[in-house]
């Protein structure tokens, strides 16, 4: 799981106390992924158990964590391994569209248009954050925002395609055939969400 590797990556830059690990993790991920202190310490104790980090207790009782050679190897391996896409992602939007298909093309257009507007507003907001990150020269954060923007863009392009498919189905055939085609398209979406 990536909390484990993210902590290793932070420790790769130098030894840290547990609390510093938590705040650096959150700073790096833009608080998109809030951690509680308990998660940090339970992950650290598993890392210690597996020999990936070494722990030194200081005079004041605080624990200082340091990455081991085995930890570094594990981290390099993580960097070199592609992330596996979820095979069946839980996509509320795809499911909503499938059921809107059953209610009729007007309903689909409604879903698409409302979602496009909402998605667009988020991309606008991300873009403002990006301009700020650019000014601050914060490259890691900039790339993270890019990821959010491209994900939102993919969703918007898919929605536009859905809308275009509906329009084409309507124009290529009479209303009855269009409805039949849309029902077929609904089944396709169900098969490949």
């Amino acid at each position: 799981m990536s909390i484990r590797y993210s902590l290793l990556a932070i420790l790769d830059a130098g030894p840290r106390h547990g609390y510093a690990l938590k705040s650096e993790f959150e700073a790096a991920t833009g608080s998109v992924w809030p951690l509680n202190v308990g998660q940090v310490y339970s992950t650290l104790s598993r890392l210690e158990r597996d020999g990936l980090v070494l722990v030194a207790e200081e005079a004041d009782g605080q624990k200082m964590y340091r990455i081991s050679d085995a930890g570094r190897r594990e981290l390099r391996q993580w960097f070199g391994t592609p992330v596996v896409r979820e095979v069946v992602p839980r996509q509320e939007l795809a499911i909503k569209l499938v059921f809107a298909m059953r209610a009729g093309p007007e309903q689909v257009r409604d879903v698409v248009q409302h979602q496009l507007v909402a998605t667009m507003a988020s991309v606008q907001e991300f873009t403002k954050l990006k301009a700020a990150a650019e000014r601050d020269g914060d490259l890691a954060w900039l790339m993270m925002i890019d990821a959010f923007i491209f994900q939102a863009e993919a969703e918007a392009r898919w929605l536009e395609l859905c809308e275009a498919r509906l329009a084409r189905a309507r124009s290529q055939s009479g209303p009855a055939a269009a409805i039949a085609q849309e029902a077929g398209a609904a089944r396709d979406v169900e098969r490949t969400p």
Partner: protein, 240 residues
């Protein structure tokens, strides 16, 4: 404040009934100085027609298109071309720089066409390119520049002479992501400096640079997106 551009129930129809095509229907909008407006919509939704009307390249068949205080629908040809030359700059998908001229020569051309002496026009072009961080390409021919550099020079050509409105049609369409971003940053900076910008695009990443986004469908405005309140509401970031 008077808007730089306003459309009042503007429409554009081609042909006559029963084979009439309604390219744009009853569109009203205003763009202020310093504002960037993006227009989105599927192919055939009327985006390009809107830009043609805004730039005076097509006259509305109904309603009005007003640039500063000139009604573009009723101006005579000579006055129209003068208003457009002084006030409106265009940026197209392909930079459309003249291949035989350097960047600086391309940028100085609109000033020369408007009657400025070549030396003064060239000095103004160089100063503008320099202020936009394009010094290094000033003496290069278009073929010696990257696509992103060519488009940024095209933006410089669009704003030279203090034009108040830039109309951009898919200005980053032919560029890679980073090249496209550099062009959008430059357009945004022009808008922040007081220029009104209207951008037509099908790319939401580009549209997101705008202050407002309009959606066209079948020639009509169907939606408008404003930036969400507070730029930090979606993501917050605590600094270490």
């Amino acid at each position: 404040m008077m808007p730089v551009l306003s459309m009042e129930r503007a429409g554009c129809r081609y042909g006559s009934p029963p084979r009439q095509v309604v390219a744009l229907d009853d569109v009203s909008l205003t763009v202020q100085a310093g504002e960037m407006l993006a227009v989105m919509g599927p192919s055939g939704s009327g985006k390009s027609t809107l830009l043609l009307l805004a730039g005076g390249l097509t006259r509305p068949t109904s309603g009005r298109v007003v640039l500063a205080d000139s009604d573009l629908g009723t101006l005579g040809e000579t006055d129209l071309s003068l208003v457009l030359r002084r006030r409106v700059g265009f940026v197209f998908q392909n930079a459309s720089l003249l291949a035989a001229l350097t960047a600086a020569e391309n940028v100085s051309l609109p000033l020369e066409l408007d009657g400025m002496r070549p030396r003064s026009a060239m000095a103004a072009a160089r100063a503008l390119l320099s202020s936009l961080g394009l010094d290094e390409v000033a003496n290069r021919l278009p073929a010696q520049m990257s696509g992103g550099q060519q488009q940024r020079v095209a933006v410089a050509r669009a704003v030279i002479g203090g034009r108040s409105l830039i109309l951009a049609d898919e200005p980053t369409g032919a560029l890679d992501s980073l090249g496209g971003e550099s062009v959008m940053q430059l357009l945004r900076a022009q808008s922040d400096d007081g220029c009104a910008v209207v951008l037509v695009t099908h790319n939401i990443r580009q549209a997101a640079w705008a202050d407002r986004i309009l959606y066209l469908h079948d020639g009509r405005l169907v939606d408008e997106v404003h930036p969400p309140a507070g730029p930090e509401s979606l993501l917050s970031r605590e600094r270490v």
